[in-house]
């Protein structure tokens, strides 16, 4: 059996060699700047990063840069801040967006469509215009240099409500009716019927939100100026703008920043990238 699969595998590749060459070439172009970055993170001080013939693999690989950036540049703290802020935002988003999506998807009430379109309308408002008043508001509420300040503009997203409403709409009516006949309240239906059924959409929303929060730069730049509350992008940026920039440290910090989203992506990418199975019946 194994031999047959191996033959099928290799003939599939052989028949499509030009395609694979193209695919690999594009993949190299895509990934190369990041490989260079990660390789720099492992280079020891004696290796010249910008020597005339660049070396992709470090001659004397070392973990020193990581240790330094973790302890001295406090990346352990930044990693925790990023993780904490991103996770809390995901949880709050899943909670409140699903609560809002439920009536919009399944209940009938006055003003339902208007409210939905108003919510969708907020996606047209670019953050750059709301940023200054939001900042002023945040400062008045004493949220500057706090976790709450970092999180609060992102607690509920119109995109999340839109996505979950779509997911809730495709839950079979019978399930909801059965639950109602058992005496389930609306809240119970939301929790026992809708949420479990919408798990894929919830995962998709979670991944998108997490990744967006992880890499967010502009708002944290405005709302936090104390190093204890820096998130990873801010921490990296401050390293990079310091007078005596140490490339290896910056590279190590950046690598630390890539790792968690990489892990999330590897395990959950099927919730973002369409697979052939995710579209329903043909025709």
């Amino acid at each position: 059996m194994k031999k047959k699969n191996l033959q099928a595998f290799s003939s599939n590749i052989l028949n499509n060699i030009p395609q694979f060459i193209l695919l690999i070439a594009i993949a190299t172009l895509t990934v190369f700047p990041l490989l260079w970055l990660i390789s720099t993170a492992f280079k020891s001080p004696s290796e010249n990063i910008f020597q005339s013939v660049p070396q992709l693999l470090p001659a004397q690989p070392t973990f020193d840069n990581f240790i330094k950036v973790w302890k001295n540049a406090r990346f352990d703290l930044y990693l925790w801040n990023s993780f904490f802020v991103s996770s809390i935002t995901v949880i709050l988003n899943l909670l409140f967006c699903s609560l809002a999506a439920f009536p919009l998807a399944r209940l009938d009430f006055k003003g339902r469509d208007q409210i939905f379109w108003a919510i969708v309308g907020t996606t047209m408002i670019p953050f750059q215009i709301t940023m200054i008043p939001l900042y002023i508001l945040a400062v008045q509420l004493n949220l500057k240099n706090t976790y709450a300040g970092l999180i609060f503009p992102y607690v509920i997203s119109a995109f999340g409500i839109f996505l979950l409403r779509q997911a809730f709409q495709s839950v079979p009516k019978e399930m909801e009716e059965a639950a109602r006949m058992d005496g389930c309240s609306s809240l119970g239906i939301w929790w026992h019927v809708m949420m479990p059924a919408a798990r894929p959409a919830l995962t998709t929303l979670a991944v998108f939100t997490f990744v967006a929060m992880w890499g967010d730069f502009l708002w944290p730049l405005a709302i936090v100026d104390k190093a204890e509350l820096y998130t990873l992008p801010r921490g990296i940026a401050s390293l990079a703008s310091a007078f005596s920039e140490d490339w290896r440290l910056i590279a190590a910090g950046s690598t630390i920043s890539i790792l968690p989203v990489f892990i999330v992506f590897v395990f959950l990418q099927r919730y973002i990238i369409p697979t052939d199975a995710s579209i329903g019946v043909k025709g």
Binding site: Q51, S52, L99, I156, S254
Partner: protein
Amino acid sequence: MKRQNLAKKFSWTPYLFLLPAIAFLGLTSFLPVLQAIYLSFTNYDFVGSPTFNGWQNYINLWRDRTFWKVLGNTLIYLAFVVPSLVILPLALAILVNQKLRSIKFFRAVYYFPVIVSVVVAGIAWKWVYAENGILNYFLSIITFQPIKIPWLTDPKTAIFAIIAVVIWRGVGYYMVIYLAGLQAIPADLYEAAAIDGSDGWQKHFDITIPLMQPYIILVSIISSISAMKIFEEVYIMSQGGGPANSTKTVVYYLYDKGFTSLEMGYASAIGVFLFLIIFIISIFTFKFINPVKTIS
């Protein structure tokens, strides 16, 4: 069948579910827009209270040479980023929409730059663009002569260097959007076309591209809005707005005025201006998004 209940019983329930979302979005979206519009008619430096100064900010904006330069830069970004992000991801999506072994791996790889934080992307590319960095090294090998172009510090090349990074980061994102559309095209269409002699690359011109039209429009609009908001790449790769302000974008200028020189009234005027342009583009999005639904 006669309608069962003519008078619907009123319930607070739906509104209670919606309360957090409405309150929150009202507070963080609608209210700030009104406040920004108000602020744009004032002078406000964050200490004390805003003082009303009518249309002065807008008049100054009109006369501000840096603003027009910055707007010009943003239009250059738009002109190069949008066509690239409309065409390249479509070609890539067609390429990866095949039943090849390990194609899922390639799809994930192409999407990866989207996930990497903008700051990290900016730094990685900053080194690629360094005078003795990799790009120059490869160019030297290909052209058999030493190449030492200072990509990020030469006013002629800086903006294009950043444009390349913006495109690099965006291709995967739009590829995935196109991929969803491609997978909704029934295979029978291609079979029928093959019988009529349309095969290989031809079939993409006859079938794929016309069917993808709603997606192409969608991507055009989203990428246009995105291109108008470029900030982080510029901040990381050419701090200070680049050599001779050649890479500064509208949003960068807004940030500068609002948070660095604390001219919040003036910054708000810039924000309102940006908002108007994006608002107009967004209206078009919603006019065209319905055709997308009928395909799937």
